[in-house]
């Protein structure tokens, strides 16, 4: 099939879809397809030629809206490309549109978007998971080939688990964040959401590596495609018992079966422990609130975005910020509170210390094995509206995903071979060892085909 036919088919499918997975569609998609097709015909195409991408709407694509699913940026058009977008285009990947998400990535269900919730392709009464809700839903529903999401505390892995697709959060500092709207700068990382492991390996190979526009990325670009064919015989996989605490029975069973499948491929299964998993959620939220409140300072209505004039400068800023949704405001307020002079030593400083303690435990556990595993989410996709009224309940859904971000480690959610609602198995590796995750995930894929 020609690329333009494929793009047309996707555009039609997006049009018909009721999932609300997209916020904007690339109006030049057909032209782009023809351009890339000519390159394919002349044998000069890049390694992503033929791939159709959706991009989470907190990643800048020049000339397209960058809304973060917020009223604040409803009409903001990005004047530049994110580094990852530049790299995808340079390799002839085609961007079909920007995907819906929790507003400013604040949410684990895909429900806080100003443009309305995204629905789960497996059951439209259920949430797709968040915050990269539209990215996972668009891949799972066949509205594109692959997607880029962002992950601050599980925002790639949670919707991947709920939608039954593969999602990888790379090592902190391996993929440039230039062009990713900040949520929590020391935790954010862009990564691929795909139908299969080899697509993720290819996308990661293109987007990873140093960028002078993001200081935190220092490693050289690496090719990951070779890892998907690697044998996992003798690979030590640690099963973290704390990751199963309070987890639904069907999820536990599916994950234990998945671990058996890896064993069948020659992996050595060992016990592992990360007791501080119990404090992961408060540690994550306090760190994230603090950084988020700083990141959101720029949305003051004075330069771009929503503006409502008030009686003076402060009033104008306050009026303009009323465009932000409830969850976003809650996080800004809490982040501001815990970084104020009077309260910071009690809250923010403590959270920084707790973060170090969790990182220490994760690294210690990974000294004894190649990968750590357990469920990605303690449950399958819940119903729309089920948790949205209770922020604490919603925050607790992140219990198993936040430790990877707090530790800067790579982690992926692998869709398990189950009947009914999708279940994800999570794999963590040491910094820079995405290859091991890809190898194990690919081995699982082969075992269950």
């Amino acid at each position: 099939m020609k690329l333009s036919e494929k793009v047309q088919a996707y555009l039609d499918a997006i049009n018909r879809s009721k999932l609300n997975a997209f916020v904007s569609i690339n109006k030049n998609a057909e032209n782009d397809a023809e351009k890339i097709q000519r390159k394919i015909n002349s044998g000069k195409a890049g390694r992503l030629a033929g791939y159709v991408f959706s991009i989470k709407d907190n990643i800048a694509v020049s000339g397209m809206r960058l809304t973060c699913a917020s009223k604040m940026l409803e009409n903001y058009v990005s004047p530049y490309d994110a580094t990852v977008v530049k790299r995808i285009i340079a390799e002839d990947g085609l961007i079909i549109g920007k995907t819906n998400m929790d507003e400013f990535a604040c949410g684990a269900s895909g429900e806080t978007s100003y443009f309305g919730p995204t629905l789960n392709p497996h059951d439209e009464k259920r949430v797709p998971g968040g915050s990269s809700a539209g990215s996972a839903a668009s891949v799972a529903a066949g509205l594109c080939d692959v997607s880029l999401g962002s992950d601050t505390g599980g925002s790639i892995r949670c919707p991947s688990s709920f939608c039954g697709v593969f999602g990888l959060k790379p090592t902190y500092g391996s993929v440039s964040r230039y062009g990713l709207v900040d949520m929590a700068m020391s935790l954010d990382q862009i990564g691929p959401i795909t139908k299969n492991v080899s697509d993720a390996a290819l996308v990661l190979s293109v987007i990873n590596g140093s960028d002078k526009m993001d200081n935190t990325v220092v490693k050289r670009q690496e090719d990951y495609t070779k890892f998907t064919r690697k044998n996992i015989k003798g690979m030590k996989i640690g099963v973290v018992e704390e990751f199963f605490d309070g987890c639904d029975h069907n999820v536990e069973k599916a994950v234990r079966d998945g671990i058996e499948a890896l064993k069948g491929k020659g992996a050595e299964i060992v016990n592992a422990s990360v007791p501080k998993t119990s404090i992961a959620v408060p540690t994550y939220y306090l760190n994230m609130f603090a950084e988020f409140s700083s990141a959101m300072q720029k949305f003051d209505g004075l330069k771009y975005g929503f503006r409502k004039n008030g009686s003076d400068l402060n009033d104008t800023v306050a009026e303009s910020r009323s465009a932000l949704g409830e969850e976003v405001k809650r996080r800004i307020l809490l982040g501001t509170y815990i970084t104020m002079k009077e309260f910071r030593s009690k809250w923010y400083s403590t959270a920084l210390k707790a973060r170090e303690a969790i990182k220490h435990e994760m690294l210690a556990a990974l000294k004894k094995c190649d990968l750590l595993t357990g469920p990605t989410m303690p449950f399958t996709a819940f119903k729309l509206g089920e948790k949205i009224k209770d922020p604490i309940e919603m925050y607790l859904s992140d219990m198993l995903t936040v430790s990877a971000n707090l530790s800067g480690l790579p982690a992926a959610s692998i869709p398990l071979n189950v009947k009914g609602l999708p279940v994800g198995m999570q794999l963590h590796a040491n910094a820079g060892e995405e290859g091991k995750i890809l190898a194990a995930a690919a081995a699982y894929e082969r075992a269950t085909k």
Binding site: N58, I59, A60, L66, C68, L73, Y76, S78, P79, Y80, A82, R177, Y178, G179, L180, V181, D182, A184, M185, S186, K212, M213, D214, N215, T216, A290, E291, S293, S294, M296, Q297, K298, F299, D300, L302, K303, Y304, L313, N314, V317, T336, T339, M340, K341, R344, Y348
Partner: protein
Amino acid sequence: MKGVKIGLEIHEQLDTKSKLFCTCPTDYRDAEPNKSICPVCTGQPGSKPFGLNEKALNAAIKIAIALNCKIVADKPVQMRRKHYIYPDLPSGYQRTSESIGVDGNLDSVQIHEVHIEEDPGRFFLREGFVDLNRSGTPLIEITTDPVFDSPQHAREWLEKLASILDYLNVTKKEEGTMRIDANISLNNGNKVEIKNINSFRNVEKALTFEITRQGDLLRRGQTVERETRHFDEKMILTSPSRKKETEEDYRHMPDPDIPPLTIKKYLVDKIRKTLPELPQAKTKRFVKQYKLSGQNAENIVSDPYAADVFEAVVKTIDPVLASNWFVGQLKKTLNYNNMKLRDSKMTEKQLSSLLKLTEKGKITERAAELVLREMVLRPAEPEKVIENLGISDFGDLNTIIKSVVDKNEKAAADYKTGKKEAFEFLVGQVMKITKGSADPEKIRKLLKKRL
């Protein structure tokens, strides 16, 4: 002054080609508003700071060394975010580094610390207009301990500091780039901070006003409020800023986008070696080597360019004579034209030639000054200037006097018979020819001799 405690915080732009965290040019003065900008320095959603401009860091280290600071080397220095909301601050926070140097000293004034930060853009309140060309320009901030005991002391010290910065040649040369915050307390009372003063003279004026204002309050038994004030240049008074500023909490936090940097000891040593001879040392040398008065030496040395020219000139001219010219007529002429020596295209050779003429008595001091005034603005060889000004024929005053006496034999004879008016007539004739540029005393002396 008794009981007066003044501390200063000096901000000056570093002279780098590009901004602190992006590659936009810093010569915003010549640019159209909002042209020297990019996603980074305008705080577009998703943009991140690029790597710290190393030239700015090196410049800051150089300044800190020159101010005798201990450099914070071989341990991480963090960039921090200082949060506040204002139209000229696109990210809602200003990036500012932890201290680069601490515990310095200049002329018995303790330097608390030195660090770098970003300049915000410019907000034109009345027009409701923001220009972000300046946003992200690297600044050095120098903070002193509260050790000045008078406004005059503060101003004099600032002039010394400016001279050192001039010598280091790493800060912007344009006028008005330096901004000063001054804090002042009387009799250990509450501290008042006067923000954003744009000249040394205004620092002195603002502080003088504050001493009177605070003194009056104390005399009446009232307390001085701890607050931030602004200096009104036209009214010559300070007035309170928005109340909020004093209570503001900037919620400083490390910037996660910029990994902490470590200044290597060897870099500090390397930069230390590039330090030029600084004003204090140079003044001492001038006094010793050229036998100048301390005052003249300090005066000449305060401008590095002038000091260099001076050293070139004294290769052929008597240093003491030259120094008198430098602090006298030359300075006067430059001040009159609101210039510094480096602004004039006059060459060292032209200046030397002129001084040579006066040294040899070829022209009078008064004439030389006239020539100098012209040369500063329209440089040329002094002989040429003398000719152009039409004062070439008084080059040798004796010749003129001789011709006047020869032409006016009667007057000369009258003088010899005791007529005083005749003498004055002859002086007048000489003055007329020299267009008033000759020294009347000298004329009298020479005329008497001839007659």
